[in-house]
């Protein structure tokens, strides 16, 4: 998730053209969503093993 955040920062710093910047920001957000999915999935597995 922090990697996605740094991608969005990189988009702001590296691209001046609005379209390129927007696409790169969306890519950063997509990486964050992937990270969130992994985190959610990881906690689901842990819970399944320790269900009372």
């Amino acid at each position: 998730m922090p990697a996605g955040f740094f991608l969005t920062i990189a988009a702001l710093v590296l691209f001046a053209e609005p379209m390129e910047r927007s696409v790169f920001v969306v890519c950063g957000l997509a990486v964050e969503v992937l990270g969130l999915g992994v985190a959610v999935r990881g906690h689901m597995l842990a819970r399944g093993e320790s269900r009372p």
Binding site: G4, T8, R47
Partner: protein, 432 residues
């Protein structure tokens, strides 16, 4: 409305109106406290409401002692910045410690400080509601202290205190910068992410997810508390949204009735949508899900009520109201997240939707990208940060009560007496 325009001196009439609104804003806290209590079990009701009171108190004290300095709430310095790509990135506030100089600060700074005091208390209540029936009182207070000392002040400075998110418009020509007048991101998304971290660390209630079969239904013990909490939240939310529009967007007085109407419309449409969805889904409308829908509408309005038209407010409420009951089911049945108050789906998800809607329906070029960058910062920085801090905190102050305490109820275990001593409380055997 432009948050980046300098405002010379706040007129007395605007000062008086904003102060009056901020005196009504604690009703939002009271409403959320009632909802948290009503959605928990009866044997934990007193502990839940006492916890809400304690969390409000701890948040206020810690924010006054430490947090307000990091947030840069009062004038005292230019803040901590670094330079990258020729731009100044203001990432941490620099205010006086212990609120020194409060009496001589400009009127707008004093009112902004009151807003932040109330906002941090509201944000800190959200993980407490999610951890109902198993989170220890000491753990709730400790999480509130962590949020009020560092996490909330950092977000508040970035968004409201002249930090880099608020300056995206000036530095990168992205609309007016990240817009969040009522606290959809700073309060609700942040609080909802904190709730998610608490849920991951503390785990579900005993018996919620049996080894076989579906999850066990553990309905809230008092629908009256929940629905009355929704009603008084409306007053607090209108106060938050209008005061936020004045303080953070420099809204003129003539624009304020629109903010009130949009707040009401968003909540109303969300309730109607949730009512219809649950009526179709279950055959009858579900009271607690309808309350969740209403609150989701209010949360979504926090970001956009001051800047969209009424027809857009209706649309924002419609989407929030349809999505909320589905998300509640998704989190519980598919993702095995036991969230009694629904803070993740109501506050985090609806806050996220409101922030995106504020960008989608803004007519300023680059505003949607500014909102995306703000969301990326809240998700990518604050969720890992909160999870790390709470994980460390759990080593020092264990979040979860021991199994015996959970069995007899938090009231008896932590307070020595129940909220309803004249009534027979359900035994734990009633659940599988």
């Amino acid at each position: 409305m432009n948050p980046n325009l300098p405002v010379a001196v706040m007129p007395d009439s605007v000062f008086a109106l904003t102060l009056a609104l901020l005196l009504l804003a604690p009703l939002a806290i009271a409403g959320v406290a009632l909802i948290n209590t009503g959605l928990g079990r009866s044997r934990s009701a007193a502990q839940s409401l006492l916890g809400c009171l304690a969390i409000v108190a701890i948040s206020a004290v810690v924010f006054a002692l430490v947090g307000s300095a990091f947030a840069g709430s009062l004038p005292g310095g230019t803040g901590h910045s670094f330079h990258l790509a020729g731009k100044a990135w203001n990432w941490l506030g620099e205010g006086p410690l212990l609120l020194s100089g409060l009496g001589t600060a400009p009127a707008k700074s004093q009112l902004g400080l009151i807003f932040e005091f109330l906002a941090v208390a509201l944000a800190a209540l959200l993980p407490w509601g999610s951890g109902a029936d198993r989170l220890r009182l000491a753990a709730g207070c400790a999480t509130a202290a962590v949020l009020a000392a560092f996490v909330f002040p950092l977000a508040a400075h970035w968004i409201w205190g002249g930090g880099w998110l608020g300056q995206l418009g000036v530095n990168f020509s992205l609309g007016s910068g990240f817009l969040d007048a009522g606290g959809a991101g700073t309060v609700h998304l942040l609080g909802g992410l904190s709730a998610m971290a608490v849920l991951w660390i503390a785990g579900p209630r005993r018996g919620k997810f049996p080894k076989e079969g579906f999850s066990t239904a553990m309905p809230g013990h008092n629908a009256v508390y929940v629905l009355f909490g929704c009603l008084i939240s409306l007053v607090g939310w209108i106060a938050f949204n209008v005061a936020g529009a004045i303080l953070w967007l420099n809204a003129p007085l003539i624009a304020l009735p629109l903010t009130v109407i949009n707040t009401l419309l968003t909540a109303s449409t969300a309730l109607a949508a949730t009512f219809t969805v649950t009526r179709i889904r279950f055959g009858k409308p579900d009271a607690s899900l309808c309350a969740n829908g209403w609150m989701a509408g209010l949360v979504a309005s926090s970001a956009c009520a001051a800047i969209v038209t009424p027809i857009v407010a209706l649309f924002v409420g419609l989407i929030a109201g349809i999505a909320t009951p589905m998300l509640v089911e998704l989190f519980e049945l598919a993702l095995t997240v036991d969230d009694p108050s629904g803070a993740v789906s109501v506050h985090a998800a609806a806050g996220l939707w409101g922030l995106l809607a504020a960008g989608m329906f803004s007519h300023q070029p680059g505003q949607f990208v500014a909102q995306l960058v703000g969301v990326a910062a809240l998700l990518g920085v604050f969720l890992p940060l909160i999870y790390l801090l709470f994980w460390l905190l759990n080593r020092v102050v264990p979040f979860r009560v021991d199994p015996d305490g959970e069995r007899i109820g938090m009231d008896l275990h932590e307070l020595g007496g129940g909220a309803y001593p004249e009534f027979v409380i359900h035994r734990d055997d009633s659940y599988r």
